[in-house]
């Protein structure tokens, strides 16, 4: 078992919250108070954290390898946009509708694709996000086509908290939603369901042999994950008041996978570290060398995959283990 995070999960695990797990929230609070110019970027990071977290649940814990998770992120984004434009700009209602819609899409598509494994499954996930991208591109009356949905009207939260031009409300809104979803994922991962989900990843033949409804469990995890991805997409639409084609397609699916791998798969907090480092590095490199920033990201990824299989957190784990040994 790699590191303390994995060891805390299971029937002998200690699910109690450790102080280090509060670090992301302390950091978020610090950004809010001391670096207000970074709030819009911070909101975007939070949204990608939620997206990566949703992916970690099925990919890291469930072992369901997908390159189509942007389908649900994008679907949530568009549903939130269309809902706000056509019905009401109430953000909480829109968020709930998008989460449910993305979950239903996940349930329907998962019911088909989770009957397959490996490469076939990977191809099908690719197909789903490609199909949705084409629909969003062609169904211009609803989606706005290549122009996307502009100036999506968003009312104040609970009729009280207006989205301000500095992005303060948006940041806090994202922070609260992401924290709630983090708690949900953390609870699930530590639960008997979470251990059984890990069991299907480790050995689905044995899972069948101990009488587990493997397909149903995987579908349940997939539905929850897609709903969370949709929630992240909706947050993006609501905080930027825009939804465009870039929320769908293989490119975003690949990018979120890269972020998760960068941070560390199957650790919950890899989904925090990955997007944080990736987006900040991208932002920095794009300012320094606008032509070559992708090169920097590429080199970073090569280094991580070659020398740190557990991502940045895996690297930290090993460093701490070495420190402990040195002290002993």
């Amino acid at each position: 078992m790699t590191g303390t995070t994995a060891a805390a999960i299971g029937y002998a695990g200690a699910a109690r919250l450790r102080w280090i797990e509060l670090a992301p929230w302390v950091l978020a609070a610090a950004i809010y108070f001391f670096a207000p110019t970074y709030l819009p970027l911070g909101s975007y990071v939070l949204i990608m954290i939620l997206f990566a977290l949703s992916l970690d649940l099925i990919l890291g814990y469930g072992g369901i390898v997908t390159l189509g998770h942007s389908a649900y992120f994008g679907f949530g984004a568009y549903v939130a946009g269309v809902f706000a434009i056509r019905l009401t700009g109430d953000p909480l209602l829109g968020l709930a509708v998008a989460a449910i819609a993305a979950g239903l899409l996940g349930l329907a598509t998962g019911a088909v694709i989770l009957r397959t494994h490996g490469l076939a499954l990977l191809m099908l996930t690719l197909a789903i996000t490609s199909i949705l991208l084409e629909v969003a591109n062609k169904w211009t009356t609803v989606t706005g086509g290549t122009d996307g949905l502009h100036s999506v009207p968003i009312q104040p939260i609970l009729g009280m908290f207006r989205f301000d031009m500095f992005g303060k409300t948006a940041f806090l809104y994202c922070l609260i939603v992401v924290a709630a979803c983090w708690w949900l994922v953390r609870t699930i991962v530590h639960s008997p369901f979470g251990v059984a989900l890990a069991g299907t990843r480790e050995n689905d033949v044995r899972m069948h042999a101990i009488g587990a409804p493997v397909y149903r469990r995987r579908l349940a995890a997939y539905t929850i994950s897609t709903s969370l991805a949709g929630t992240a997409g909706a947050l993006l639409t609501q905080t930027t008041q825009f939804a465009g084609l870039s929320v769908l397609g293989v490119e975003l699916s690949g990018e979120i996978l890269v972020m998760l791998v960068l941070g560390g798969v199957r650790r919950i907090y890899g989904a925090f570290v990955g997007p944080g480092v990736y987006i900040v590095a991208k932002d920095y490199l794009a300012k320094q060398t606008p032509e070559y920033w992708y090169l920097g990201i590429g080199i970073l990824l090569i280094l991580i995959v070659m020398f740190a299989r557990g991502g940045i957190l895996g690297l930290l784990d090993r460093a701490f283990a070495q420190l402990k040994r040195a002290r002993a």
């Binding site: 078992m1 299971g10 002998a12 009488g211």
Partner: protein, 251 residues
């Protein structure tokens, strides 16, 4: 009501033109200690896979405790008391020894699908898994990743996972496969100590294991039951000797 814990009637399986199970009529009494032997390619594994539901028979019926389970999925058969182990270790590789056993216990107790409390809050699962581990002297290894165990102990975990399901019928697929003879003695002791009310079918190449453990033996050759009898009868049977002639049982 069948007098058998597990029964097959006219079980038949063909792959294209190849018949791998031919009209197998087989019955396992409650508490039985039965061995299934036969040369390589006799269809033993196919037979087991049909019993557990991994493979659908071309025709025939499978009855578990008198109930027809032919059309039921694997998980439904497990719920009705059919447990199995695997010839090749089929463990939850990256998980602790405790969790390997606890997963099955949790499935049996019907709490494996719960999401809102931590697994460690379900004491009954952990306690039962620990009890099983202690019974086989593995209590000290509970926290070890199962892949880090010596191979012989991994074979014991293989059996423990099945025992956690409290099966009425247990299929043991070469439980001592790959274990050095010194350690296989330990596995035999474990097999001898299994609860007497479980009906056990052991698929085994090692004749020492077969003759020590089984009260009755069924011989399968080319998908057909050649004969069935006590170990002494089977040892004296000329047809069995013919089948094994030139291909002495290895193990």
């Amino acid at each position: 009501m069948s007098r058998f814990a597990l029964e097959t009637r006219g079980l038949h399986k063909t792959f294209g033109g190849l018949t791998v199970a031919a009209n197998i009529n087989f019955g396992l009494e409650p508490g039985a200690r039965r061995a299934l032997i036969g040369p390589n390619g006799a269809g033993k594994t196919t037979f087991v896979n049909m019993l557990t539901g991994r493979l659908a028979p071309s025709s025939g019926r499978i009855l578990l405790g008198g109930e027809d389970v032919t059309g039921l999925a694997q998980e439904a058969r497990v719920k009705r008391g059919l447990g199995r182990t695997f010839q090749i270790n089929t463990l939850f590789r990256d998980m602790s020894v405790l969790d390997n056993v606890a997963l099955g216990v949790a499935e049996r107790l019907g709490i494996a699908g719960r999401m809102w409390r931590a697994a460690s809050a379900y004491r009954e699962v952990r306690d039962e898994a620990m009890e099983l581990l202690a019974r086989l002297g593995l209590a000290d290894d509970a926290g070890v990743r199962v892949l880090d165990l010596p191979y012989g102990k991994q074979r014991l975990v293989e059996i423990l996972i099945a025992l956690g399901l409290k099966p009425k019928v247990l299929l043991l697929d070469e439980p001592a496969a790959g274990v050095p003879s010194l350690e296989s003695e330990r596995i035999l002791e474990v097999l001898d100590a299994l609860p007497s009310d479980i009906a056990i079918l052991i698929i085994e190449h090692d004749m020492d294991v077969v003759f020590r453990f089984a009260k009755r033996i069924t011989v399968l050759v080319q998908g057909e039951v050649l004969c069935e009898g006590t170990p002494t009868e089977i040892a004296a049977d000329r047809r069995v000797h013919e089948v094994y002639l030139g291909e002495r049982p290895h193990g």
